[in-house]
Assembly symmetry: C2
Homo-oligomer: 80 residues x 2
Amino acid sequence: MIAEVFIELKKGVMDAEGEAVKKALRLLGFKKVKGVSSVKVYRIEIDTNSKEEAEREVREMCEKLLANPVIQNYRIVLKE
Amino acid sequence: MIAEVFIELKKGVMDAEGEAVKKALRLLGFKKVKGVSSVKVYRIEIDTNSKEEAEREVREMCEKLLANPVIQNYRIVLKE
C-alpha cells in the first residue's frame, strides 16, 4: 500500500521558503502571484494490505520522525 | 485561484532525501517500509479567475524557476 503524507506549516508559522519563492516569482515578473506556501510530501510504500495498519504505522512515523507537531500539521492519504 | 504544483524527481534519479527517510524509519523499527520518495508542493495563489491564464502562468513559473526539467517532473492542479 502507498501512503502519502502531506506536511505543512501551521497557520501563523512563518513559511520562509514560500516567501522566498513568492519574492523570486514576482521579481521574474509574475505580478499576479498573491502568495506561495510550501508543502512537503512523502510517498511511503508499506508492505501491508490493511488500511488500518498502514494508517496507524504512518501516523506513528509522523509523530516520531516526519513532522514537527509544534509547527507542522500532517495529513495522510492512503492509496491501494 | 489556487494552483498546486507537484514537483518530483524523474524515474532513475537518485532521491537522496527519500532514501535517508527510509533508512531513518527502518532504524526506528518500521520494518514494513519498502520505499520512500519525496515530493515538493507549492501552493500558489494567483489573482485571476481564468483557469487557462492560471495554468499558462504556472507552467511558465515551473519552467523558469520552480522545477529543474533535467531531473524533475511537475504536475499542476488548479483549484477555485
